[in-house]
């Protein structure tokens, strides 16, 4: 096992459809400066910077790490860019954590961002490739067939998706940084919204957001010196798999199961539903809550939807999921994974304010990307090693 590492500072922007009031450097600095302030540090105290964002086609900026190096105080320091599609925010946190756990660096700034309003993510994810005739329209068009397959396989009733969509939007009302604010949302309103990709309706899909999130990850000495409580990183893991191979289960990917098993073993989690107080899980489309409940071992295969239906993942349930409002409420794609990891850290730091899960001591942060091919997970705790 490696050295101890902890989150000592967290910052994020207020996420909106269009942050036209700031440039890309301005956007990332907003999050970075808040994280540094939370950690009681300045750029001079940072030993290395890790930057994550989703495909370059989203903003049309190639090599954003070079573009943003000086804005993030990285002049003369190691700077690494991470890209694992939608899971990149999670992978970014894990690379930064590895920097510290390896002993090579004492304080690392992890930052991830997306400014979706610069173009259109559905265009960027749909743009044609030569010699093919792909007819997948956006991420929703890609995932809808696998959601249908999950419903066929599990026999889940349609209202489960509507319930997740309404729950996560209600949760967002307690989060001052969340993008969507829909105080009156109900499962019935979700069910009445237009059909996009059957079985997904408009309100069962994530928004497009501009935003950034940053974390300062430090070693044990940095954690002791920090002004606020640290979130100790108890386990961190990534896994990947090809988009298509013989025997692949795209509904319940093995990479996700293996990643969860790894991170649980590191953190000493035997039963995730019992041992994890709250989870921030990448749910960009409503049905991915029951699907990931099973993939992450919170429920037996085919029974994830029953946990959602029984309210187990609601704020007053025994395993609250996405208390911050999740990806369904806030989706600056590249940052969405890092926000999950950061919100998990804020829960065990007792810093989640209006969406705090009382007494949370152990939390899971999760992200997935591309065709459910890339998985990143960490478990953070209030207790040090």
């Amino acid at each position: 096992m490696s050295r101890a590492a902890a989150v000592v500072g967290v910052g994020q922007t207020h996420h909106r459809s269009r942050r036209t009031d700031v440039s890309m450097p301005g956007l990332v600095r907003e999050a970075a400066l808040r994280a540094l302030e939370d950690a009681g540090l300045g750029f001079a105290d940072i030993d290395a910077v890790v930057l994550g964002k989703a495909p370059d086609l989203f903003e049309g900026v190639a090599m954003p790490d070079l573009f943003l190096a000086d804005a993030l105080g990285a002049r003369g320091k190691p700077l690494l860019r991470v890209h694992t599609a939608g899971s990149v925010g999670g992978s970014t946190a894990i690379v930064a954590a590895s920097h510290v756990r390896s002993g090579a660096f004492r304080r690392v700034l992890a930052l991830a961002w997306e400014k979706q309003s610069e173009s259109n993510a559905t265009w960027a994810l749909t743009v044609g490739q030569p010699f093919s005739a792909s007819l997948v329209v956006g991420a929703g068009g890609y995932f809808a067939p696998f959601i249908r397959a999950y419903i066929e396989r599990s026999g889940a009733p349609g209202h489960v998706g509507w319930a997740v969509a309404a729950k996560d939007r209600r949760n967002a009302l307690g989060n001052p940084y969340a993008h969507l604010r829909m105080p009156g949302i109900t499962p019935e309103a979700v069910a009445a919204s237009p059909m996009l990709w059957e079985p997904l309706r408009y309100l069962e899909t994530c928004p497009s957001s501009d935003g950034a999130c940053a974390m300062v990850i430090g070693d044990a000495g940095a954690a002791r010196a920090a002004p606020g409580p640290p979130a100790w990183i108890r386990g961190a893991a990534v896994r990947s798999e090809p988009i298509a191979f013989a025997g692949r289960d795209a509904v319940d990917p093995r990479a996700g199961r293996d990643c969860a098993a790894d991170v649980y073993a590191q953190a000493g989690v035997a039963d995730p539903r019992r041992d994890i107080d709250t989870a921030e899980v990448y749910v960009p489309f409503s049905w991915y809550e029951p699907m990931w409940l099973e993939n992450l071992g919170f429920a037996e295969p085919g029974r994830g939807w029953r946990l959602t239906e029984e309210g187990a993942t609601a704020p007053d349930g025994d395993t609250p999921w996405n208390r911050s409002g999740g990806v369904l409420s806030t989706n600056p794609i590249g940052a969405s994974g890092l926000i999950r990891f950061a919100e998990a850290a804020q829960q065990v730091r007792g810093r989640a304010e209006g969406h705090q899960v009382e007494g949370a001591r152990t939390a899971l942060g999760h992200a997935y990307g591309a065709g459910a091919q890339f998985f990143a997970m960490w478990i953070v705790g209030s207790e040090g090693p």
Partner: protein, 336 residues
């Protein structure tokens, strides 16, 4: 100063008389313009004169009142209490903030633009009163006010070139929004070479054949692969697959796409008979509400003259055998 007559609108017309007769002739209507030759001479006085003189030099100034407020455009007195203003002419602007506005969708002939624009009350930075001027929201603006036009919009004046300035408020041609974005029209052009397996796959499709490949593990891939994605071993055995298979799962897309024939359209994963991976394809020839996982499907080919080695020649998959509308009543729309 205006010297040409304001054009009048069309002559007003009254209600048609029920039965026009000789006692009720056509009304006699003409136009009449009045303009003093050369225009009236307006003395500016010292305060407005200073404002216009500075404006001709490209500077914006106001005047400070005894109470400390800055009036722009200036007057010789404080309009609130009539007291004389001070001799202080502080610089203001050039940027300002729109306080309120009126959208002019159909400009009049003497308006400063022949396309839609706004009249706006602009509070210049450092001023306490707003000035009225034309606001240019760009050539793309139409009959509806642009979304960007709102109270609080930051604007700057566009001055006429120095040689054209005369010391009039029209030395400011108009205001326009501050620069908040630039448009990046960059483009990347690639030369793409298909891998040999894909080239053979597309060539065979122009002949109506579907190629796959068998990996060392025995798994059959379609399209054929150079290496097995599961373990990285090279794949050398090519196989031919039938144009029939089973629909594994699918989505009914309600989001329009230029590549799709209509909305809604069905994209499905087809497991060709003998293959171990799915082919992503359109599904057609069936009401989307009747599509079911497990359905038997058959490839429908483009006509030979439309086939090209640059793209797949399978147009879409259709039910196999075709659905019989008399034997299969349309199911209830399922809410899932």
């Amino acid at each position: 100063m205006p010297t040409d007559p304001e054009p009048t609108g069309p002559a007003p017309t009254g209600p048609e008389p029920a039965a026009p007769g000789p006692a009720d002739p056509e009304p006699l209507i003409g136009t009449h313009g009045v303009a003093f030759p050369g225009g009236y001479t307006r003395s500016t006085g010292p305060v407005i004169g200073r404002f216009l003189t500075e404006l001709r030099d490209g500077r914006l100034v106001g005047v400070r009142t005894a109470s400390g407020r800055v009036l722009v455009p200036p007057t010789e007195y404080d309009p609130l209490d009539g007291s004389p203003v001070t001799g202080d002419h502080p610089g203001v602007g050039p940027a300002g903030t729109v306080q309120t506005w009126c959208w002019v969708a159909e400009p009049r002939p003497r308006h400063p633009f022949d396309r839609p624009f706004a009249w706006a009350a602009v509070l210049l930075d450092g001023a306490d009163t707003a000035m009225l001027h034309a606001l240019d929201m760009g050539e793309a603006a139409g009959a509806e006010p642009p979304r960007a036009l709102r109270a609080g919009l930051r604007v700057r004046p566009r001055l006429r070139p120095e040689a054209e300035r005369t010391g009039a408020v029209t030395d400011i041609a108009c205001f326009r929004p501050e620069v908040t974005e630039v448009r990046d029209t960059g483009r990347l052009d690639y030369t793409v070479r298909a891998d040999p397996a894909l080239a053979r796959y597309l060539d065979a499709q122009t002949e109506g054949r579907i190629l796959g490949s068998r990996a060392r593990s025995g798994a059959v891939y379609v399209p054929p692969r150079e290496v097995d994605p599961a373990d990285g071993t090279p794949v050398t055995e090519e196989v031919e697959l039938p144009p029939t298979g089973t629909l594994t799962t699918f989505s009914v897309n309600h989001v329009p796409d230029p590549r799709a024939p209509e909305v809604p359209f069905v994209t499905g994963y087809v497991r060709l008979d003998g293959a171990d991976v799915d082919l992503l394809a359109l599904v057609s020839g069936v009401d989307p509400a009747r599509v079911r996982p497990g359905m038997r499907v058959r490839a429908e080919w483009l006509p030979p003259e439309e086939r090209s080695r640059t793209r797949p020649s399978i147009r879409w998959f259709v039910p196999d055998p075709p659905p019989d509308p008399l034997r299969e009543p349309a199911p209830e729309q399922e809410e899932r």
